[in-house]
């Protein structure tokens, strides 16, 4: 049984996702000791990866989004994630967003358990500024959110069904947005995954097996810098005062991509 990680990187006008992916691939290899495949629309001979595959073309859901750490609207190219199921060269795949910084071996345990498909159910803001419900439920129906940031799957009938359902949701996104009462722009993989899992588990909200633990999230409004190997300082304003935290040897989801670019440029 082959095991490996896959990251998707499609550059936009504002963010060099391939650069982020190359940096993160080194972290993934160092902590998880698995081969890493890049799926990108700018394939090249990147030494950090064991495989580089061409990404399928974008669907109509190529949208723009405002991030707090970027002055202008940036193009958000997050469609087509369902294609990873057929593109991945591994029997068991860890699919990671490029802004998910691997700084521990926690996900190695998840990979070793070879789940049919598993992802995180909960995320939290390390600064404690973003409310729990805002991060973990979506739409006016308060649907439970399953995060597409980290998905571990083994090629199986169940995993294939989930990705096929995600494709169907992406193609008919406006209809699903109306049905589940959330905004149809921008397209969110998290929402598509959540709806797919909920549907395939018989609409029982508690029936989905998820990765234990929560995603430690550094939101766009928090400044993050690297202060050592696998050690990051996060600064943010709380009650009109500047606060800071040190995050050491733990995986973090850094939403402010420009801060990650700065970290890479300085490393």
């Amino acid at each position: 049984m082959s095991v490996g990680a896959v990251v998707i990187a499609k550059n936009t006008n504002g963010i060099d996702y391939v650069k982020l992916a190359r940096w993160n691939a080194k972290n993934i290899s160092r902590h998880l000791n698995v081969p890493v495949t890049l799926i990108t629309d700018e394939p090249d001979d990147y030494p950090e990866f064991d495989n580089v595959l061409a990404a399928p073309s974008d669907s109509e859901h190529r949208s723009r989004r405002q991030f707090a750490d970027v002055p202008d609207l940036v193009v958000w190219r997050n469609s087509g994630r369902h294609a990873v199921y057929s593109l991945s060269p591994y029997d068991t795949t860890l699919l990671l967003d490029v802004d998910y910084v691997v700084a521990s071996d926690v996900l190695k345990q998840v990979l070793e358990s070879r789940p049919n498909l598993s992802c995180y159910r909960y995320a939290y803001d390390v600064a404690g500024l973003l409310p729990h419900n805002e991060m973990n439920f979506f739409g006016s129906l308060n649907m439970p959110m399953y995060w597409a940031t980290v998905i571990c799957f083994t090629k199986s009938q169940y995993a294939e069904s989930v990705f096929r359902m995600m494709e169907m949701i992406e193609v008919n996104y406006e209809m699903y947005a109306t049905l589940y009462k959330f905004s149809h722009r921008p397209y969110r993989n998290d929402y598509a995954l959540s709806i797919a899992l909920n549907t395939l588990n018989g609409h029982f909200l508690s029936a989905v097996g998820s990765i234990p633990g929560k995603i430690a999230t550094v939101t766009h409004t928090s400044l993050v810098e690297q202060v050592g190997e696998d050690c990051y300082k996060v600064q943010y304003d709380k009650k009109n005062k500047r606060h800071e935290l040190i995050l050491r040897d733990m995986d973090i989801h850094v939403m402010g991509k420009t801060y990650l670019e700065d970290i890479i440029d300085r490393s």
């Binding site: 990979l111 600064q235 606060h243």
Partner: protein, 96 residues
């Protein structure tokens, strides 16, 4: 620029958030794979394994899947991971 630097230098350590982050961090590190299942080292799992009378037992892993396990082996793995991570948690909490 100098005002920004002063502001950054005056940043105060957030003990409240740090405590919560450490709890989430070490709870995640309690997770381990064994016998084809995924487990969370915890007093609950240790107690469950302690009350299993036979060498083998079928118990639910964190995915809710029934797994046949060797009770003594899983107990030893669980206790080791739980103790290691609790010790590390204490050390990191006290280092701030």
């Amino acid at each position: 620029m100098s005002e920004k630097l002063i502001s950054l230098a005056k940043a105060r350590f957030d003990y409240e958030s740090n405590k919560k982050v450490l709890k989430e961090k070490y709870e995640a590190k309690m997770t381990f794979a064994s016998a084809g299942g995924l487990w969370k080292a915890s007093p609950e799992l240790l107690t469950t394994l302690l009350v299993c009378p036979d060498d083998e037992a079928v118990i639910l892993d964190t995915y809710g899947t029934p797994i046949k396990v060797n009770v003594k082996e899983l107990y030893a793995e669980t206790q080791q991971r739980w103790q290691e991570q609790m010790n590390a948690w204490l050390v990191e909490l006290n280092s701030k």
